[in-house]
Symmetry: none
Subunit: 161 residues, 2 copies
Amino acid sequence: MKIKNSRLDAIRLILSTQEIGSQEELLNELAKEGFTLTQATLSRDLHQLRVVKTVGVQGKYRYVLTRPHQYRHDGSEGEMRPIAPAVMEVNGFLSIKFSGNIAVIRTKPSYASTLAYHIDAYNFPEVVGTIAGDDTVMLVISENATRGAVLKALRSIIPNL
Amino acid sequence: MKIKNSRLDAIRLILSTQEIGSQEELLNELAKEGFTLTQATLSRDLHQLRVVKTVGVQGKYRYVLTRPHQYRHDGSEGEMRPIAPAVMEVNGFLSIKFSGNIAVIRTKPSYASTLAYHIDAYNFPEVVGTIAGDDTVMLVISENATRGAVLKALRSIIPNL
DNA sequence: ACGAGTATTGCATATTTCTTCAATTTTTAC
DNA sequence: GTAAAAATTGAAGAAATATGCAATACTCGT
Protein backbone atom coordinates (compact mmCIF):
# COMPACT_ATOMS: atom_id res chain seq x y z
CA MET A 1 0.00 0.00 0.00
CA LYS A 2 1.82 3.01 -1.26
CA ILE A 3 -0.72 5.56 -0.21
CA LYS A 4 -0.91 4.36 3.34
CA ASN A 5 2.81 4.38 3.85
CA SER A 6 3.28 7.86 2.55
CA ARG A 7 0.39 8.94 4.71
CA LEU A 8 2.05 7.47 7.76
CA ASP A 9 5.20 9.33 6.84
CA ALA A 10 3.21 12.50 6.48
CA ILE A 11 1.72 11.96 9.92
CA ARG A 12 5.15 11.50 11.39
CA LEU A 13 6.37 14.62 9.72
CA ILE A 14 3.43 16.72 10.82
CA LEU A 15 3.61 15.51 14.38
CA SER A 16 7.33 16.22 14.37
CA THR A 17 6.89 19.79 13.34
CA GLN A 18 3.56 20.97 14.66
CA GLU A 19 1.61 20.88 17.84
CA ILE A 20 -1.42 18.80 17.08
CA GLY A 21 -4.04 18.50 19.77
CA SER A 22 -6.74 16.38 18.19
CA GLN A 23 -7.25 13.94 15.40
CA GLU A 24 -9.50 16.36 13.62
CA GLU A 25 -6.75 18.93 13.60
CA LEU A 26 -4.35 16.38 12.20
CA LEU A 27 -6.93 15.45 9.62
CA ASN A 28 -6.96 19.04 8.42
CA GLU A 29 -3.20 19.14 8.12
CA LEU A 30 -3.23 15.92 6.18
CA ALA A 31 -5.85 17.35 3.88
CA LYS A 32 -3.51 20.23 3.10
CA GLU A 33 -1.00 17.66 1.98
CA GLY A 34 -3.55 16.04 -0.25
CA PHE A 35 -4.50 13.10 1.91
CA THR A 36 -8.17 12.37 2.16
CA LEU A 37 -9.21 10.03 4.88
CA THR A 38 -11.67 9.78 7.71
CA GLN A 39 -11.11 10.07 11.40
CA ALA A 40 -11.63 6.34 11.71
CA THR A 41 -8.69 5.61 9.48
CA LEU A 42 -6.60 8.19 11.22
CA SER A 43 -7.35 6.61 14.55
CA ARG A 44 -6.09 3.33 13.21
CA ASP A 45 -3.02 4.97 11.75
CA LEU A 46 -2.15 6.56 15.05
CA HIS A 47 -2.65 3.28 16.80
CA GLN A 48 -0.30 1.60 14.41
CA LEU A 49 2.31 4.32 14.82
CA ARG A 50 1.87 4.11 18.56
CA VAL A 51 1.31 7.81 18.74
CA VAL A 52 0.24 9.01 22.15
CA LYS A 53 -1.73 11.97 23.35
CA THR A 54 0.25 13.69 26.03
CA VAL A 55 -0.35 16.61 28.26
CA GLY A 56 1.89 19.55 27.52
CA VAL A 57 3.24 22.11 29.89
CA GLN A 58 0.30 24.44 29.80
CA GLY A 59 -2.08 21.58 30.13
CA LYS A 60 -2.74 21.40 26.43
CA TYR A 61 -3.08 18.03 24.86
CA ARG A 62 -0.68 17.10 22.14
CA TYR A 63 -0.10 14.07 19.98
CA VAL A 64 3.50 12.95 19.94
CA LEU A 65 5.46 10.16 18.37
CA THR A 66 6.86 7.51 20.60
CA ARG A 67 10.05 5.80 19.69
CA PRO A 68 10.63 3.33 16.97
CA HIS A 69 11.38 -0.14 18.16
CA GLN A 70 15.05 -0.35 18.72
CA TYR A 71 16.55 -3.50 17.47
CA ARG A 72 20.09 -2.96 18.44
CA HIS A 73 22.27 -0.15 19.36
CA ASP A 74 25.94 -0.74 19.83
CA GLY A 75 27.37 -2.15 16.69
CA SER A 76 27.47 -5.68 17.97
CA GLU A 77 25.92 -8.64 16.29
CA GLY A 78 22.97 -9.06 14.08
CA GLU A 79 22.51 -5.73 12.49
CA MET A 80 18.99 -4.71 11.75
CA ARG A 81 18.54 -1.02 11.53
CA PRO A 82 15.12 0.34 12.05
CA ILE A 83 13.44 2.17 9.27
CA ALA A 84 15.74 4.68 7.74
CA PRO A 85 14.18 7.95 8.66
CA ALA A 86 13.71 10.48 5.95
CA VAL A 87 16.51 12.97 5.92
CA MET A 88 15.06 15.89 7.66
CA GLU A 89 15.98 18.76 9.80
CA VAL A 90 14.77 18.76 13.30
CA ASN A 91 13.73 22.07 14.64
CA GLY A 92 13.11 23.16 18.17
CA PHE A 93 16.74 22.80 19.13
CA LEU A 94 18.03 25.38 21.58
CA SER A 95 21.32 24.31 23.09
CA ILE A 96 23.55 21.44 24.03
CA LYS A 97 25.83 21.04 27.00
CA PHE A 98 28.02 18.23 28.21
CA SER A 99 28.79 16.78 31.58
CA GLY A 100 30.79 13.64 31.85
CA ASN A 101 29.42 11.17 29.41
CA ILE A 102 26.07 12.88 29.27
CA ALA A 103 24.83 15.50 26.86
CA VAL A 104 21.90 17.62 27.86
CA ILE A 105 20.02 19.11 24.96
CA ARG A 106 17.46 21.84 25.52
CA THR A 107 14.63 22.30 23.09
CA LYS A 108 11.58 24.43 22.77
CA PRO A 109 8.78 23.14 24.95
CA SER A 110 7.39 19.80 23.84
CA TYR A 111 10.00 19.32 21.16
CA ALA A 112 12.23 17.01 23.14
CA SER A 113 10.54 13.76 22.23
CA THR A 114 10.62 14.64 18.59
CA LEU A 115 14.31 15.31 18.70
CA ALA A 116 14.99 12.16 20.66
CA TYR A 117 12.96 10.25 18.16
CA HIS A 118 15.19 11.36 15.35
CA ILE A 119 18.37 10.74 17.28
CA ASP A 120 17.24 7.25 18.12
CA ALA A 121 16.15 6.56 14.60
CA TYR A 122 19.61 7.32 13.29
CA ASN A 123 21.11 4.85 15.70
CA PHE A 124 24.39 6.70 15.96
CA PRO A 125 27.16 4.53 17.35
CA GLU A 126 28.27 7.51 19.43
CA VAL A 127 25.01 7.39 21.34
CA VAL A 128 24.11 4.71 23.84
CA GLY A 129 20.59 5.97 24.37
CA THR A 130 18.43 8.97 25.00
CA ILE A 131 15.69 10.04 27.30
CA ALA A 132 13.32 12.83 26.52
CA GLY A 133 11.30 14.97 28.85
CA ASP A 134 9.27 17.86 27.62
CA ASP A 135 12.01 20.28 26.66
CA THR A 136 15.13 18.35 27.56
CA VAL A 137 16.84 15.39 26.04
CA MET A 138 19.45 13.52 28.01
CA LEU A 139 21.82 11.61 25.82
CA VAL A 140 24.33 9.06 27.01
CA ILE A 141 27.54 9.05 25.03
CA SER A 142 29.27 5.82 24.16
CA GLU A 143 32.41 5.20 26.11
CA ASN A 144 34.59 5.19 23.06
CA ALA A 145 33.10 8.30 21.53
CA THR A 146 34.21 11.89 21.93
CA ARG A 147 32.04 14.89 22.39
CA GLY A 148 33.19 16.14 19.05
CA ALA A 149 32.04 12.95 17.42
CA VAL A 150 28.66 13.31 19.05
CA LEU A 151 28.34 16.87 17.83
CA LYS A 152 29.31 15.84 14.37
CA ALA A 153 26.71 13.11 14.34
CA LEU A 154 24.00 15.38 15.65
CA ARG A 155 24.83 18.04 13.12
CA SER A 156 23.53 15.75 10.45
CA ILE A 157 20.04 16.14 11.78
CA ILE A 158 20.12 19.38 13.71
CA PRO A 159 20.72 22.23 11.30
CA ASN A 160 21.57 25.07 13.62
CA LEU A 161 24.13 23.27 15.71
CA MET B 1 -6.18 17.78 50.48
CA LYS B 2 -5.19 14.58 52.07
CA ILE B 3 -7.56 12.36 50.23
CA LYS B 4 -6.65 13.63 46.84
CA ASN B 5 -2.96 13.19 47.36
CA SER B 6 -3.23 9.68 48.59
CA ARG B 7 -5.51 8.96 45.71
CA LEU B 8 -2.91 10.25 43.29
CA ASP B 9 -0.36 8.02 44.95
CA ALA B 10 -2.70 5.10 44.62
CA ILE B 11 -3.10 5.86 40.95
CA ARG B 12 0.63 5.92 40.49
CA LEU B 13 1.02 2.66 42.27
CA ILE B 14 -1.73 0.95 40.34
CA LEU B 15 -0.47 2.17 37.01
CA SER B 16 3.00 1.01 37.94
CA THR B 17 1.96 -2.49 38.75
CA GLN B 18 -0.94 -3.28 36.52
CA GLU B 19 -1.88 -2.91 32.92
CA ILE B 20 -4.78 -0.54 32.93
CA GLY B 21 -6.50 0.05 29.65
CA SER B 22 -9.30 2.44 30.50
CA GLN B 23 -10.32 4.90 33.12
CA GLU B 24 -13.21 2.72 34.11
CA GLU B 25 -10.85 -0.12 34.81
CA LEU B 26 -8.70 2.15 36.92
CA LEU B 27 -11.79 3.34 38.70
CA ASN B 28 -12.52 -0.21 39.72
CA GLU B 29 -9.04 -0.74 41.05
CA LEU B 30 -9.29 2.45 43.03
CA ALA B 31 -12.57 1.31 44.45
CA LYS B 32 -10.85 -1.82 45.73
CA GLU B 33 -8.49 0.45 47.60
CA GLY B 34 -11.38 2.31 49.10
CA PHE B 35 -11.39 5.37 46.89
CA THR B 36 -14.73 6.51 45.66
CA LEU B 37 -14.72 8.99 42.85
CA THR B 38 -16.27 9.51 39.48
CA GLN B 39 -14.70 9.15 36.09
CA ALA B 40 -14.75 12.93 35.73
CA THR B 41 -12.48 13.34 38.69
CA LEU B 42 -10.25 10.56 37.52
CA SER B 43 -9.88 12.22 34.16
CA ARG B 44 -8.71 15.34 35.93
CA ASP B 45 -6.35 13.36 38.12
CA LEU B 46 -4.78 11.71 35.13
CA HIS B 47 -4.41 15.03 33.44
CA GLN B 48 -2.68 16.44 36.46
CA LEU B 49 -0.36 13.46 36.67
CA ARG B 50 0.27 13.78 32.95
CA VAL B 51 -0.56 10.16 32.50
CA VAL B 52 -0.77 9.08 28.90
CA LYS B 53 -2.61 6.35 27.12
CA THR B 54 -0.13 4.41 25.06
CA VAL B 55 -0.35 1.46 22.77
CA GLY B 56 1.31 -1.62 24.13
CA VAL B 57 3.08 -4.32 22.24
CA GLN B 58 0.06 -6.39 21.37
CA GLY B 59 -1.90 -3.34 20.38
CA LYS B 60 -3.62 -3.03 23.72
CA TYR B 61 -4.09 0.41 25.12
CA ARG B 62 -2.46 1.12 28.40
CA TYR B 63 -2.21 4.07 30.72
CA VAL B 64 1.33 4.82 31.80
CA LEU B 65 3.06 7.39 33.93
CA THR B 66 5.14 9.78 31.96
CA ARG B 67 7.69 10.78 34.47
CA PRO B 68 9.11 8.89 37.32
CA HIS B 69 8.22 10.26 40.64
CA GLN B 70 10.41 12.79 42.13
CA TYR B 71 10.40 11.23 45.51
CA ARG B 72 13.84 11.72 46.83
CA HIS B 73 16.38 9.14 46.52
CA ASP B 74 19.72 9.68 48.14
CA GLY B 75 19.32 7.78 51.32
CA SER B 76 18.93 10.79 53.49
CA GLU B 77 16.25 11.03 56.05
CA GLY B 78 12.80 12.15 56.28
CA GLU B 79 11.07 11.84 53.06
CA MET B 80 8.12 9.92 52.23
CA ARG B 81 8.44 7.32 49.64
CA PRO B 82 5.74 5.41 48.01
CA ILE B 83 4.88 2.20 49.69
CA ALA B 84 7.36 -0.40 48.68
CA PRO B 85 5.45 -2.54 46.29
CA ALA B 86 5.22 -6.20 47.02
CA VAL B 87 8.23 -8.08 45.84
CA MET B 88 7.49 -8.65 42.26
CA GLU B 89 9.15 -9.36 39.06
CA VAL B 90 9.16 -6.65 36.51
CA ASN B 91 8.81 -7.79 32.98
CA GLY B 92 9.44 -5.91 29.79
CA PHE B 93 13.18 -5.83 30.33
CA LEU B 94 15.26 -6.05 27.19
CA SER B 95 18.83 -5.03 27.80
CA ILE B 96 21.19 -3.04 29.94
CA LYS B 97 24.32 -1.18 28.95
CA PHE B 98 26.72 0.98 30.87
CA SER B 99 28.58 4.14 30.10
CA GLY B 100 30.46 5.87 32.85
CA ASN B 101 28.25 6.13 35.87
CA ILE B 102 25.10 5.66 33.84
CA ALA B 103 23.19 2.52 33.01
CA VAL B 104 20.83 2.57 30.09
CA ILE B 105 18.11 0.00 30.31
CA ARG B 106 15.97 -0.75 27.32
CA THR B 107 12.53 -2.16 27.80
CA LYS B 108 9.60 -3.12 25.70
CA PRO B 109 7.62 -0.09 24.66
CA SER B 110 5.80 1.59 27.52
CA TYR B 111 7.47 -0.50 30.21
CA ALA B 112 10.17 1.96 31.13
CA SER B 113 8.25 4.00 33.65
CA THR B 114 7.05 0.89 35.42
CA LEU B 115 10.56 -0.44 35.72
CA ALA B 116 11.86 2.91 36.93
CA TYR B 117 9.13 3.06 39.48
CA HIS B 118 10.15 -0.25 40.94
CA ILE B 119 13.82 0.58 40.94
CA ASP B 120 12.99 3.78 42.76
CA ALA B 121 10.75 2.03 45.20
CA TYR B 122 13.48 -0.36 46.25
CA ASN B 123 15.76 2.48 47.04
CA PHE B 124 18.88 0.56 46.22
CA PRO B 125 21.97 2.20 47.67
CA GLU B 126 23.73 1.50 44.38
CA VAL B 127 21.30 3.75 42.56
CA VAL B 128 21.24 7.51 42.87
CA GLY B 129 18.13 7.93 40.78
CA THR B 130 16.43 7.16 37.52
CA ILE B 131 14.56 8.82 34.75
CA ALA B 132 12.36 7.01 32.30
CA GLY B 133 11.14 7.57 28.81
CA ASP B 134 8.89 5.22 26.95
CA ASP B 135 11.22 2.31 26.44
CA THR B 136 14.39 3.49 28.10
CA VAL B 137 15.43 3.96 31.69
CA MET B 138 18.51 5.94 32.52
CA LEU B 139 19.92 5.06 35.88
CA VAL B 140 22.61 7.00 37.69
CA ILE B 141 24.95 4.79 39.65
CA SER B 142 26.18 5.76 43.08
CA GLU B 143 29.78 6.84 43.15
CA ASN B 144 30.85 4.08 45.45
CA ALA B 145 28.99 1.33 43.66
CA THR B 146 30.25 -0.96 40.96
CA ARG B 147 28.43 -2.04 37.89
CA GLY B 148 28.38 -5.53 39.25
CA ALA B 149 26.67 -4.34 42.37
CA VAL B 150 24.07 -2.57 40.32
CA LEU B 151 23.42 -5.66 38.29
CA LYS B 152 23.13 -7.71 41.42
CA ALA B 153 20.62 -5.33 42.89
CA LEU B 154 18.57 -5.18 39.74
CA ARG B 155 18.53 -8.92 39.46
CA SER B 156 16.34 -9.01 42.52
CA ILE B 157 13.53 -7.40 40.61
CA ILE B 158 14.34 -8.19 37.01
CA PRO B 159 14.10 -11.93 36.50
CA ASN B 160 15.79 -12.37 33.16
CA LEU B 161 18.87 -10.34 33.82
C1' DA C 1 -5.16 -13.22 -15.78
C1' DC C 2 -7.86 -15.42 -12.04
C1' DG C 3 -9.18 -16.42 -7.49
C1' DA C 4 -8.26 -16.90 -2.67
C1' DG C 5 -6.52 -14.62 1.00
C1' DT C 6 -5.18 -10.33 3.17
C1' DA C 7 -5.24 -5.45 3.96
C1' DT C 8 -7.37 -0.96 3.85
C1' DT C 9 -11.13 2.02 4.28
C1' DG C 10 -15.58 4.54 5.26
C1' DC C 11 -19.75 4.62 7.55
C1' DA C 12 -22.22 4.51 11.48
C1' DT C 13 -22.13 3.94 16.02
C1' DA C 14 -20.27 2.49 20.48
C1' DT C 15 -17.16 3.70 23.74
C1' DT C 16 -14.29 6.58 26.07
C1' DT C 17 -12.70 10.83 27.67
C1' DC C 18 -13.08 15.78 28.58
C1' DT C 19 -15.40 19.92 30.19
C1' DT C 20 -18.99 23.08 31.92
C1' DC C 21 -21.58 24.29 35.73
C1' DA C 22 -23.06 24.46 40.25
C1' DA C 23 -22.44 22.72 44.71
C1' DT C 24 -19.54 21.69 48.37
C1' DT C 25 -15.26 21.54 50.88
C1' DT C 26 -10.85 23.28 52.10
C1' DT C 27 -7.51 26.90 52.67
C1' DT C 28 -6.03 31.53 53.60
C1' DA C 29 -5.95 36.07 55.62
C1' DC C 30 -7.49 38.73 58.94
C1' DG D 1 -13.28 31.99 64.38
C1' DT D 2 -15.01 34.01 60.20
C1' DA D 3 -15.40 35.56 55.62
C1' DA D 4 -13.40 35.52 51.16
C1' DA D 5 -10.81 32.98 47.91
C1' DA D 6 -9.38 28.77 46.03
C1' DA D 7 -9.70 23.97 45.23
C1' DT D 8 -12.26 19.74 44.69
C1' DT D 9 -15.99 17.19 43.12
C1' DG D 10 -20.19 15.01 40.74
C1' DA D 11 -23.69 15.15 37.38
C1' DA D 12 -24.62 15.55 32.80
C1' DG D 13 -23.63 16.24 28.48
C1' DA D 14 -20.22 17.53 24.83
C1' DA D 15 -16.35 16.17 22.45
C1' DA D 16 -13.14 13.01 20.96
C1' DT D 17 -11.69 8.48 19.86
C1' DA D 18 -12.21 3.51 18.86
C1' DT D 19 -14.36 -0.29 16.44
C1' DG D 20 -17.79 -3.74 14.08
C1' DC D 21 -19.12 -4.46 9.74
C1' DA D 22 -19.34 -4.54 4.89
C1' DA D 23 -17.32 -2.99 0.71
C1' DT D 24 -13.33 -2.34 -2.02
C1' DA D 25 -8.51 -2.73 -3.18
C1' DC D 26 -4.45 -5.01 -3.21
C1' DT D 27 -1.11 -9.28 -3.15
C1' DC D 28 0.42 -13.57 -4.25
C1' DG D 29 0.52 -18.00 -6.14
C1' DT D 30 -0.76 -20.55 -9.88
